[in-house]
C-alpha cells in the first residue's frame, strides 16, 4: 500500500545535506552502519555533526573523514584496543569539536527528541565538571523540580536531521526487524527527521504479516531502505556474523600511524 522506499545507497546519500546532524546506530563494534559510513566518507558532504552515546568504528571513521566538524558522545572507545584512534587524533589536534556528553545526557536528549518533548529531566550528578561546560554549550540546564524545589539537570531534546541504522530485515515499506540488542536505535529513528536504514535482507510484503512479533520499527518512521548485505562488517551483526577484530585492529593501527583517509579505507576494501 505504502510508497516503495527501497533505494540505492547513492540515492540515500542524497537525503543527507551539508551541515546535517547525524545519529549513528549500533554501538562499539556491533551493528554499525558501516556501508553508509563508508559511502559518506567517499562523498563530498561537508560540515556534518555526529551524535551517539557509545559509538565505535563507523563514528571514528567518519570523524577522520574531513566531512565532520563536530561530534557529541558519552564515550568514544575502542575498548580493549585503546581510546578511539581517530577521535583522539582529531580532538587532540583541534580539527573536530568534541561535545563531551554522558550516557544519561544522550539517553535523556534522545528520549525527549523521540517523545516530541522539549527537554527531559535527568539524574546527572550536579557536581560533575561537565555540568557547567554543557550548560554553557546550551544542551543542559540546571533547574528545579517544580514539585519539591530540588535542583536537577535537564537535557534539551536531541532532534538529529538523519539517523543511520543497520538492521536485519526490512520490507520496501520500511517495516523493520532488528534481532537482539537494540541500544538506543529506536529512539534515534524516532527523534531524527529522516531515518535511513540499511538492511541485511529485504523481505517480502508477507514477512511481517506472517511474523508480527518480529516488527521492531513500523514503516511510517522510516524514510529510506537500502539493501546492504554485510553492511555492518567488520562490526558484528548478531545472528548473522561476528565482529572481525583483525580488520578492526588494522584500522586502529592505520589511524594511529597517521595514514590518510584513502589508505585507511583500504582496510575495508581488502578485508
Amino acid at each position: 500500500m505504502a510508497r516503495n522506499k527501497l533505494m540505492s545507497i547513492n540515492e540515500a546519500l542524497d537525503l543527507i545535506n551539508d551541515g546535517d546532524e547525524i545519529a549513528i546506530g549500533g554501538m562499539s563494534f556491533h551493528r554499525n552502519p558501516m556501508s553508509m559510513a563508508i559511502a559518506i566518507v567517499k562523498s563530498n558532504k561537508r560540515d556534518l555533526a555526529l551524535v551517539d552515546r557509545e559509538p565505535g568504528l563507523a563514528f571514528d571513521l567518519l570523524t577522520i573523514s574531513g566531512r565532520v566538524k563536530r561530534i557529541r558522545a558519552a564515550m568514544v572507545t575502542f575498548e580493549h584496543f585503546g581510546i578511539a584512534p581517530g577521535f583522539r587524533r582529531m580532538v587532540e589536534g583541534g580539527e573536530v569539536e568534541f561535545v563531551e556528553d554522558v550516557c544519561e545526557g544522550v539517553m535523556a536528549g534522545l528520549r525527549a527528541g523521540a517523545y516530541g518533548l522539549p527537554f527531559m529531566p535527568s539524574a546527572i550528578a550536579l557536581d560533575s565538571d561537565l555540568v557547567p561546560l554543557n550548560v554553557k554549550r546550551g544542551i543542559w540546564k540546571v533547574t528545579k523540580d517544580p514539585f519539591n524545589d530540588q535542583e536537577l539537570v535537564v537535557v534539551k531534546a536531541i532532534r538529529p536531521d538523519v539517523a543511520l541504522v543497520h538492521v536485519h530485515k526490512a520490507d520496501e515499506r520500511g517495516d523493520v526487524e532488528i534481532y537482539g540488542p537494540k541500544y538506543e536505535d529506536l529512539l534515534k529513528i524516532q527523534a531524527a527527521r529522516k531515518a535511513i536504514v540499511t538492511a541485511e535482507e529485504i523481505v517480502s510484503e508477507d514477512y511481517f504479516r506472517d511474523h508480527p512479533e518480529r516488527l521492531t520499527i513500523p514503516g511510517f518512521m522510516v524514510t529510506a531502505v537500502v539493501h546492504s548485505p554485510r553492511g555492518a562488517w567488520p562490526t558484528s551483526m548478531y545472528g548473522y556474523y561476528k565482529a572481525d577484530y583483525e580488520i578492526i585492529k588494522k584500522y586502529f593501527d592505520s589511524v594511529k600511524a597517521g595514514l590518510s583517509i584513502e589508505k585507511v579505507l583500504e582496510v575495508f576494501t581488502h578485508g
Binding site: 572507545t77 539524574a123 550528578a125 565482529a243
Partner: protein
C-alpha cells in the same frame, strides 16, 4: 599469573547473592568478575551493555559489548532499562575503571591536563556522571596502583565521588583495596594482597589514605580460578 587476575578476584568478592549487576564497555575485567562470582556459586542477576540478559557462558573478545561474547542468554535487556533501574535505586552493583581517582573518590575519564588543550584526550565517562552516584555499590578497578592513577585531585571531575548518603565505593588495585569512608568523606585503605607491604601501597599513591584496622588480607587467585579465567579469556584480553 598476572596482577589483573588478583584484581578480578577482588572485584568478584564484592558481589553478593541477589545482586543485580551491570557491566559497561571496555569492561572485560568486570565481566570476568561476574563470571568468577557465579563460578563460586554467588547468585547474581547479570545485565550488561551487550544487552544479553543472564548469559550462561562467556567467550571474551576485545569488546565487553560483544553480544557474541555472552552465550545463551535468557533474553535481551537494553541499557535504557538498566539505567532506569539504577535511577529507581535498584541497581546493586556497577563497575567502573578510571584514569584517575582522588582522595575524595572523584573520578576522571575525560582528559589528562587542561580540558581545552588536553595532554591526553580520554574516551569520556560514559555512564559515570550518573551511575557512579546512583548505583548502590560501585566496584572500581585500576590496572595500576600508582601516583599517576591515585591522585590528590583529579585533573577533571568526570563523576564526583560518593556523598555521605552513598553509594558504597570499593577500589581494587593490583596491590590493595580502598573503600570510600562515609564519615571522613575520603578513601581509606581496607585491604592488602598477601605479600604486599603497606608502605609500598601508600608510597605509590599521591595522597596518604587513612588505614582501617584490621586490614583484610586479600587472597590471590588460586590455580583453579586462574584456569577458569583462562578458559573464558584464552587470549588474555583482561591483561590489555
Amino acid at each position: 599469573m598476572a596482577d589483573m587476575d588478583n584484581v578480578i578476584k577482588c572485584m568478584a568478592r564484592q558481589l553478593r547473592d541477589g545482586d543485580i549487576a551491570y557491566t559497561g564497555l571496555a569492561s572485560v575485567p568486570a565481566v570476568l568478575a561476574v563470571a568468577l562470582a557465579r563460578h563460586w556459586g554467588v547468585n547474581t542477576w547479570f545485565i550488561n551493555v551487550a544487552e544479553i540478559y543472564e548469559p550462561e557462558d562467556f567467550i571474551i573478545t576485545p569488546s565487553s559489548g560483544d553480544p557474541y561474547s555472552l552465550i545463551n542468554g535468557r533474553g535481551f535487556v537494553i541499557s535504557l532499562d538498566a539505567f532506569d533501574l539504577a535511577r529507581r535505586g535498584q541497581l546493586d552493583v556497577m563497575f567502573f575503571s578510571a584514569a584517575q581517582v582522588d582522595r575524595r573518590g572523584n573520578m576522571n575519564l575525560s582528559v589528562i591536563g587542561n580540558y581545552e588543550k588536553p595532554r591526553v584526550r580520554l574516551p569520556g565517562g560514559a555512564a559515570a556522571a550518573y551511575l557512579y552516584r546512583r548505583a548502590r555499590r560501585i566496584v572500581m578497578w585500576l590496572r595500576e596502583h600508582s601516583r599517576r592513577t591515585l591522585v590528590e585531585r583529579v585533573d577533571f571531575i568526570t563523576a564526583p565521588g560518593p556523598t555521605k548518603q552513598g553509594p558504597h565505593l570499593t577500589i581494587c588495585t593490583p596491590k590493595a583495596m580502598l573503600e570510600f569512608d562515609h564519615v571522613s568523606g575520603e578513601l581509606v585503605l581496607t585491604g592488602l594482597f598477601s605479600g604486599v607491604n603497606i608502605d609500598e601501597v601508600i608510597n605509590n599513591m599521591a595522597f596518604k589514605p587513612r588505614v582501617r584496622e584490621p586490614l583484610s588480607m586479600l587472597e590471590p587467585v588460586t590455580d583453579e580460578e586462574l584456569q577458569f579465567l583462562g578458559r573464558l579469556d584464552p587470549s588474555g584480553v583482561r591483561y590489555l
